[in-house]
Symmetry: C2
Subunit: 238 residues, 2 copies
């Protein structure tokens, strides 16, 4: 990376501004003029540096997901090496997958809470090119973690595990992205916005027990077919 010290690097400023604005207003709701205005650069600079608005969005994510994917794979490799062939604990798998994500929220150089919220929100953007982009970016990591969960929960049908993976992703995404949306719905302000870097720790303590509780909940009747699974008694709260 060539450090443009004299100037605060046009490229980076565009990416930072786009990251924040896509988070606040969504992809369709953010115009190039809003981005270049906020970044303090010329309108033409986006197309010069990135080629198009779509390509800009992809680059906004690529620079963050590169680290996230690498870290998630590294942690899984490490845990599996230590386990010497034994299945991992579900809680350890979730901690690696979601904890790594939440860690980004504490580190501004990894995008901080802005990127976390952008990521959660963008997963529901309907545009086709966004969905195909994420499919490619996530494929390897999700496949590895899915297989780790299959081994960790040998009595649970694979389809059920995939469903619960979906549900955990959904809960986590809303917990992060929908902070203000859901606050409006539940009419109650949660202490996330004012906490800055600590927000991710608070989130983690709140969310991880919920996810584990959901993942290990009793199976629905019709899903138990292959071999009668011991009903995981959902340890009562409080």
């Amino acid at each position: 990376m060539s450090e443009a010290r004299v100037q605060p690097d046009t490229r980076e400023r565009i990416l930072d501004a786009a990251e924040r604005l896509f988070m606040e207003s969504g992809y369709e709701g953010t115009s190039m003029r809003m981005i270049t205005g906020a970044a303090g650069v010329n309108l033409a600079a986006v197309n010069y540096h990135f080629g198009s608005k779509e390509a800009l969005l992809r680059e906004v994510f690529r620079r963050r997901l590169a680290w996230l994917n690498r870290e998630r794979l590294r942690l899984l490799d490490e845990m599996e090496a230590q386990a010497k062939g034994e299945p991992l604990k579900p809680s350890a798998i979730l901690e690696a997958f979601f904890g790594t994500l939440l860690h980004m929220g504490t580190d501004e150089s990894l995008g901080g809470m802005t990127f976390l919220r952008l990521l959660g929100r963008t997963l529901t953007e309907p545009a086709d090119f966004i969905r195909t982009f994420f499919a490619g970016e996530y494929a390897e990591v999700v496949d590895r973690y899915k297989r780790a969960l299959f081994r960790a929960l040998p009595d649970v049908p694979h389809e059920e595990i995939i469903w619960r993976f979906h549900l955990m992703l959904g809960a986590m995404s809303y917990a992060i992205a929908g902070t203000d949306a859901l606050q409006v719905v539940t009419g109650c302000e949660l202490d996330l916005n004012n906490e800055g870097p600590r927000a991710a720790e608070l989130l983690s303590a709140r969310v991880m027990p919920f996810l584990l509780g959901g993942l290990r909940a009793p199976l629905p009747q019709f899903a138990v077919s292959p071999q009668q699974t011991r009903k995981t008694e959902p340890s009562k709260a409080a």
Copy 2:
């Protein structure tokens, strides 16, 4: 609001088309021309009948949420009357809140799966007017259900209950709205799209145990006693 004649009712056709297109492409991603084209009506008809695109969106939701809110309140009233002052069971509360929602997915006259997915997806739309609209529509029902949960879980801090309400809403919304988005992420096709009316039953059997497991998961350490905010070990492992 005056009744139109025998016609296939321009107003309804616009609402139906808008419901589907907003679900598929989002609010910003759907143009008036797409809507009037799909509905087979004139472009000017939307502004004649509804006044603006924003007002159209609100009306799309109002005609469905009227039933949903009424039914949710009715069920809660009924249960509370039968309980004669005793707290309700958490599972009964969730069944009333989320089961009513899922029931709409089985009934085409209530919008079917199209509306369910639209609702889940629209909760994350960043536009301001959408968020304030939902705040007003949801206020009463959410307040009533929150209070029912407070009574049902007297040992759990209110803030924790609200968080878990958020998380349940998020999981449910993604399970419904993000069907294709998350399928792309997890790289696995779930049997939702082809099941038609049965989709809601399948969803219910899959999702309700997960939600209950999450709601009743062990509490994070710091939520029990307000002073110590230690790093939390989310209780038991596998």
